[in-house]
Symmetry: C2
Subunit: 769 residues, 2 copies
């Protein structure tokens, strides 16, 4: 499943957008698609490289500070810039100025994981040269960002100067004329030392820095070598904040000069002593050419597409978007258990590199069912921040359990606005949900032992501390659900439903440990001080959880008061007043029946069987009429539910909104970074929606539906050691589905017309639904 | 009714507190009780003079800014300091150092309105001198702060130097070590010019300044003259930021030197050109001695105490507190229609000089029934900010009507935290309530015409825009009631009840204008675009207002969900965790049945007849059990309702908490300024509670109850041109009440056993209740 994303016109107005779209990342390191040589004066660019979870803190000033308001924020750091390669011809610097450039092309090959750029540049005297750049951020060596920079003389011979820069004098993006976009100036990196050396046809640059507040070190080492050209002179220079090398050489017409630059990043949180680490990694890869690195990258991607590739027959536009999205998810996923996927991946500074609930609910499933080790890593990261979550629970007033922060990097609550921040307690159930789904999909007992059970139990405890039993059931007051247009309500349907699941699965996880790892369970329960009494309360709360239900309409109300509120005046809302949150006060929005995104509908999607089929159907119709989808997370849930309810055509309309959201810059803010969760939502909508996939413990469910425009749909699911290939194809008016067990033991498959055993010996043909 | 507040020990730990308690003010100008000569090094003092509504703006930075969050705050300005008088003997500066001072005494005479201070000081060589200071902030000339400073030589002759300072280099109080108390540094006054002149035995200092952002000018002129002493030399000096005069003189043993200093303040918002204004006022008072000014002040106060004095028989401690409170209310009340009473009066910088709802609900009634012109002025101030309130309504999303800001000076919303700020929409009903009560108490048709009706109608409109009809009545969602421990709820009982009153009285006011000022009404309705249709909606909303009621408990729930929440764990709350808001997150507080202050109880108090007697009684008992009184406003409402429900002993316990709250510094923060609203609450509890007074349109109601400890209670009420004197006295076990009509036409008095006509010819004897 190969595809190349391409841009053949240099359009300055798309510069910021393309910096995001063409960024290269690997879950540890992300490098925006900036031009090595820089830009003509006056062009806005966000030049940035980011290391996942490499952050510094800053004070949060509240104009009115109340108890429990966070005082310190965390922010991802724009790290040492290793992108700079400046080329000078006859005293003129090569920059892509209009009228001086032709043959511009940039591309990102989703099949090989290499971004390329090429152009022909003409000097003021008419001399032309061709530049070609290839870059990759390695999926095998996470610390590596490699660049191959080629210059060719065309008609005339050239004397060239090339400057390789490693710049530690970096800061985060900040536009003082619009502080709302980027907060305030943030320059947390302090350069401690720099080195530069050169010899023969290569050299090495090194810059070591440290964050001011958190005192985490960063070492960036650039090894470079070159071939081609003649009369080469290489010099090196270090300054207080950086290092650079200067190469002088001569090219005859048609001759090519090729620079290979390997940049290695290490931070003291993961690597300990950074200088030694980058040197060791560099030594290991010393002999590898860019070509070899690219081949390795292509091999990894081939494996990825094989496992995770999804194919839609009959719609090339969707297919392109889909591939782009899955590629970006892969690029964004860390594997170190010390980080998760930020809201914007590693493609920009939007949301400050923070992790939110969408990591678990929107992105993790893709990995859970295609590459479970990455899902495990994301959950182990949460587990690593459990101590902070416990402290946050205490601060918020809950005497037991853990309350994960709404937005964070290292585990500290960084949301400065609690009504749509800390009040979103559902994030705890979301993490627990993902933990359980991971276990369900892998039967990974080690995960439960090493942290999964603790995650489930500590979040379950929180609900006991947060809610209370009442004659009508277990109630949870003063929370905000996923729909941030209705902040601070009682008994948010989503929250209560997910909390019940959390409580139930925590007890189930405990039961599993009790039978399969009793000693580890005893140790855990002793450490947590968790006993019989609390377990009884958990079971009661789970069983008696109050879920609002409106009998008259047979709808799940979003919260206790939701259906009694006045309807929003959609007819009287000008088109340019969307998203509503930019044009109406939060209090006004809360006063009406209007939703930013799926809330009760999402609960019905995540928890099949939660409500009666009629309630699910009525609720879908009801909320569809009052949801603005002002959040990019909304479409996916509506798409998935529409498909599940059998309306493939409507599902397709919503799905189409998710698939090309960033490619088409539909929200106008992809420049700040990708909408990574929406990308996960695309996969969810496709596999859980159209594919009708659902995990059912020992079994799986599959009920594919195809919109008329599609000729087919295929995807693979990894489940408890199996690889299941699902292929639906339209035959005349009727879609037919073939399910093949490619690896692993036989498994039961539930579908619309019953249940069948899928074994390696024979593919399963699902009857048309 | 005279009383002297006195302090005879200079206790540095009480310095800040006494600066508040002994401050002098007149509703326009307030001067804290700072020592003219300054303090020994290291003593914390808040040196301040304030002009009501003289403010500057500052940006409000939100760490997470959402639509409609205020961007600009207003803050009262610490103005040019005219308090400084430095005395030097033999090179030593006279300062109250321990061991160097005896005979210290400071006092505030509530009967004459003069603050005094005296002490004997001993130099390092043992020479003693006596200092006496008297100061008054004039209740007749609001621009005047007068000081008389006397020095007497005791055993030895003295050569003295005295420096009179007028200091424009002032800034608001700011403690950088604790920015939570006082926000950030604020120095908005810029000195434009200064003058200093001296001749013979007197001179004149002048400083003109301007606020940086709002560009409002301030002129402060100090005229001084002196008598006594010999060998007088007077010099004057001006600097870039101030002016001063230096007096050298000789005193023989027993001789007294007396300086009279008259400081005049004018601001360009009220006075236009300030330099001319202060000069004109100074010229008018040029010949007045301090003695004459003091006599005039005493006369005004005699009139005040006659009209507004209240006497409790049998409890001196309460009596002292009560007098202090009423005096402070008088001192705090402006009469210019361009300002109201800040939360701290003019005694300190707490709450930034802002006006809140308590001006209308807690303080205005005292004036309304004793000095209605001042109540009118407070309401006309609100009317003057109506344009801003309309703009605020739009910003908050209400298409019609006016939404007064929760805290403001000039009409801008200055609350940076909307859940307990702008969400407190009840302030609009509170203002309307006060406007109606004022009209009811005065039948002042001119008020309705000049602004009262517009206030009532524009606030009434707001409820139509905010709420909506529903099968169960007119509902109002997403508001915060007076109880700030339960923010953002649906159908807050207080808000809905007051809104219904607002709607009803707006229509009543309109009907009055329709019959008595039809042309003015037409003009108003034309201007407001207010027609029949909207009036019909108002009438419907008023008649169908949804008021939560719990049948089982026969209690008025504070909001839709209140009674379904879990009870607060009072037993598990450590005593040092009060006030709760300093120890628990707002969300936690909202999750439980716990109140900061009276809410439904206050509604029952303000709107007699709103609920059935049994509901009122049950609600009182219910909320009493869950109210922490963490707001100083709470006790008064509970006191008043307890008295009204016949439990005089309990009422007394609550009342006692209100009466000496500042005198005894019960909340530990009187240093930041008085709890002015609580002072109004004292009067409310006494007259509306113990006195059983209530306005009933053409009639009044009176049903006094006396706690056992009291031998009597007397107060006066001004009502529709009458002066009604109410005197209750205990005769044996039974309290008897005599009501006398001192002025005005006969009036019907409703009381427990029926209704009687009170005429001038014969006092009414109310039967014991």
């Amino acid at each position: 499943m190969s595809h190349v994303l391409e841009s053949t016109v240099f359009d300055p107005s798309r510069l910021l957008l393309e910096e995001t779209l063409f960024h290269c990342a690997n879950g540890y390191l992300g490098v925006r698609g900036n031009f090595e040589e820089g830009y003509p004066e006056g062009l806005a660019s966000v030049r940035g490289s980011y290391i996942n979870a490499f952050y510094d803190t800053h004070p949060i000033e509240h104009p009115e500070r109340l108890y429990g308001f966070p005082e310190t924020g965390e922010k991802i750091v724009n790290v040492t810039d290793a992108q700079g390669i400046v080329l000078i011809v006859g005293g003129e610097r090569v920059v892509l100025e209009p009228g001086r450039t032709r043959g511009y092309r940039r591309s990102l090959d989703l099949g090989t994981g290499v971004a390329s750029r090429s152009f022909v540049w003409r000097s003021s005297t008419g001399t032309e040269l061709a530049v070609g750049v290839r870059r990759l951020v390695s999926l095998s060596t996470r610390e590596l960002f490699a660049v191959e920079y080629s210059v060719a003389a065309l008609a005339s011979a050239l004397d060239l100067e090339l400057i390789i820069g490693l710049d530690g004098d970096v800061e985060n993006f900040f536009d003082p004329s619009d502080p709302r976009v980027s907060g305030s100036a943030f320059k947390p990196l302090e350069v401690l030392s720099s080195e530069a050396s050169a010899s023969g046809r290569g050299g090495r640059l090194y810059v070591e820095s440290r964050t001011r507040s958190t005192a985490v070190s960063l070492g960036v080492l650039s090894d470079f070598s070159c071939e081609g050209g003649s009369g080469l002179e290489v010099g090196a220079l270090r300054t207080a904040t950086g290092a650079s090398a200067r190469l002088l050489f001569h090219l005859e017409p048609g001759e090519v000069f090729r620079l290979t630059r390997k940049n290695f990043y290490a931070d003291s949180r993961r690597h300990g002593r950074v200088a030694g680490s980058v040197r060791a990694i560099a030594a290991r890869l010393d002999s590898r050419s860019f070509e070899e690195l690219a081949a390795e990258q292509a091999e990894i991607l081939a494996g990825f597409w094989k496992r995770a590739g999804v194919e839609i027959g009959g719609d090339g536009g969707l297919d392109e978007g889909l591939r782009f999205n899955l590629y970006q998810l892969l690029q964004s996923a860390p594997c170190d258990g010390a980080s998760s996927i930020p809201a914007k991946g590693l493609s920009g500074e939007g949301y400050e590199g923070h992790y939110f609930w969408d990591a678990e609910i929107y992105m993790l499933p893709f990995f859970c069912y295609t590459n479970p080790a990455l899902a495990r890593g994301m959950l182990m990261y949460r587990h690593s921040t459990l101590e902070g979550a416990r402290a946050h629970a205490r601060e918020m007033g809950q005497k037991r359990g853990a309350a994960f922060p709404w937005r964070t990097i290292a585990g500290r609550e960084c949301s400065a606005y609690y009504p749509s921040g800390s009040a979103q307690y559902h994030i705890n159930a979301d993490i627990a949900y993902a933990a359980w789904r991971y276990y369900e999909a892998t039967a990974d007992l080690g995960f439960l032992v090493e942290g999964g059970a603790e995650l489930l139990l500590e979040t379950a405890r929180l609900w006991l501390a947060l809610g209370h039993p009442s004659p009508e059931g277990f109630r949870i007051e003063a929370v905000t659900g996923p729909d941030e247009y209705t902040c601070i309500v009682d008994n948010n349907y989503y929250t209560n439903a997910m909390a019940a699941f959390n409580l139930e699965k925590a007890l189930e996880a405990r039961a599993i440990l009790a039978s399969q790892a009793p000693r580890e369970l005893s140790a855990l329960e002793l450490r947590l001080g968790l006993g019989e009494e609390e377990r009884t309360l958990m079971a009661r709360a789970a069983a008696s959880m109050y879920l609002p239900h409106d009998r008259e309409r047979d709808v799940s109300p979003q919260d206790d008061g939701f259906l009694r509120k006045a309807p929003w005046d959609f007819a009287g809302t000008p088109a340019d007043h969307y998203p509503l949150l930019l044009h109406y006060h939060h209090l006004t929005l809360r006063r009406f029946q209007v939703c930013k995104q799926a809330d009760a509908v999402l609960a019905h999607f995540l928890l099949p069987g939660l409500a009666a089929e009629s309630t699910v159907r009525n609720s879908y119709a009801y909320y569809e009429g009052i949801t603005t989808h002002d959040s990019s997370l909304s479409y996916a849930a509506f798409a998935a539910m529409a498909a599940r309810l059998g309306d493939a055509e409507k599902a397709l309309r919503y799905f189409a909104e998710t698939v090309r959201l960033d490619l088409d810059d539909a929200h106008g803010n992809t420049k700040d970074g990708l909408h990574a969760a929406n990308m996960g939502g695309t996969w969810l909508a496709l596999v859980f929606g159209f594919g009708g996939f659902r995990p059912l413990g020992e079994a799986i469910g599959l009920d594919p539906v195809l919109p008329r425009a599609w000729t087919g749909l295929s995807f693979r699911i990894a489940y408890r050691g199996r690889s299941v290939l699902v292929r639906s194809r339209r035959e005349g008016a009727v879609p037919r589905t073939e399910v093949t067990l490619e690896a692993g033991e036989a498994i039961r498959v539930e579908h619309g017309s019953g249940s069948s055993l899928l074994s390696a010996s024979s593919p399963l043909e699902l009857p048309p639904s």
